[in-house]
Amino acid sequence: MAKRRGIEVSIAIAEAARQADVDVVSAYPITPQTHIVEHLAQLVADGVLDANYITVESEHTAMSACVGASAAGARVFTSTSSQGLALMNEIVYLASSLRTPVVMALANRSLSGPISIWNDHSDVMNERDTGWISIFANNGQEAYDLTLMAFRIGEDRRVMLPVMINFDGFILTHVIEPIYIFDDEEIAGFIPPFEPIYRLDPDNPVTMGPVGVPDVYTEAKKQQEVAIRESRPVIDEVFEEFAQRYGRRYRAVETYRTEDAEVVLLAQGSVIEAAEVAVDHLREQGKKVGAVELRLWRPFPFKDLKEALCGNTIKQVVVLDRCISFGGQAGPVMSEVRSALYHEPKRPMVVGVVAGLGGRDIPLSDYVKMFEIGEECLRTGKEPGEEPELVKIVGLRE
């Protein structure tokens, strides 16, 4: 039986990696991810976890070690944040193109400068097109559950792709809250042994990562694109099996009180629960509002999103981005959501707001403001302000 424990979310994630029985951990400490890898290093040092903890001098090398270990057939876990992920970037691309199913716990943090150790989603958005499966957790329980599921999803022979689990730095990593932690026996059968398609083996040599001349590079990229799209049914399968076994159901897109809603707020990560509190608050005032969570970021859940937002009562979507696309449309989530709905005959209007950059707290009153922006769009038929293209930041000192 799973035990309900008051545990720091970072420690719960490290426990998930232990219960997945990882063979290799390689990471470089960076705030706010540090507690995760510290705990894993301790488990390895204490002999509780039979794994190689490869200490390295940078995140670039950490990811290199992860890719190499995965290519050799090891189950691999790493964790990073912000600048660390940015430094890994080159090898992040290699992990997906070499189809090495590394699991990464990404404690989301802003990118410098100015130097900021605090939370937003700039780091993950910078890696949007790297070909990793990318999933958001909005609380500690989800971060723990999804880390376990990440191994199942990534290592499935129909997938063979790296997976990053996103959870907000500090807001989740540094919080103690109640989390159901499985007994080891209870979760043991959920993650079968890793059986790679090819592995680096001196007795049976193969070449991984050769030159892709112009005659094959395009085909290699197409193969990768098909692979991440075809991971979707596997993701649903794993979500379903998890629900059957353990009773907690995960969906690519989640909705909250959207049945008769006219204005909805769409977001990712820990803000979604606060948005739900704001929805409850506004519902008490008779406002028809709801919240939508885009949990699965890659592969992008086009169909689920359309089902959630189109052909129903929803007339206005406010997308909350935790990242600015400088000189572009608000943030990456907004521009993707808006374009995903473009061909729908009956679609809501989409407006983007940016908030919670670099650890700026988003109080309830700011969520109310976001809904007000949505209502104004709905009333006037256009986005507020002189220049509609201008990024609308909520919680900014003007």
Binding site: S97, L98, R99, M160, I197, Y198, N204, P205, V206, T207, M208, G209, P210, G212, D215, V216, T218, E219, A220, K222, Q223, V226
Partner: protein, 97 residues
């Protein structure tokens, strides 16, 4: 097995891997050269320096212990001729008939 030169994305091996070791033998680079190494066996001391230095592994040892370039793969770089301590390798013009 020789890989198809222009595979479709479905035919391309998983993750662009090369699953069969040593398949570079199918890729003959011998026609790259303008100069070819010619070994003067009168001077050769069978030391194997050419065999060690050749970046294409194009030298093969024969039954008498001499090292002979395999012109199917030799690109004509001339490293063997430069390194040979006995100076028994000359780079001569490639004659294409």
């Amino acid at each position: 097995m020789k890989l198809k030169e222009k595979p479709t994305w479905r035919e391309l091996p998983f993750a662009c891997c090369i699953p069969e070791p040593g398949n570079s033998v199918y890729y003959k680079t011998g026609d790259w050269k303008t100069l070819r190494p010619v070994v003067d066996k009168e001077k050769c001391i069978k030391c194997g320096t050419c065999w060690i230095f050749c970046p294409e592994y194009a030298f093969e040892e024969d039954e008498y212990g001499y090292y002979n370039p395999n012109y199917d793969y030799c690109k004509g770089c001339g490293i063997c001729a430069t390194e040979c301590p006995a100076q028994c390798i000359k780079m001569e013009e490639e004659v294409v008939e």
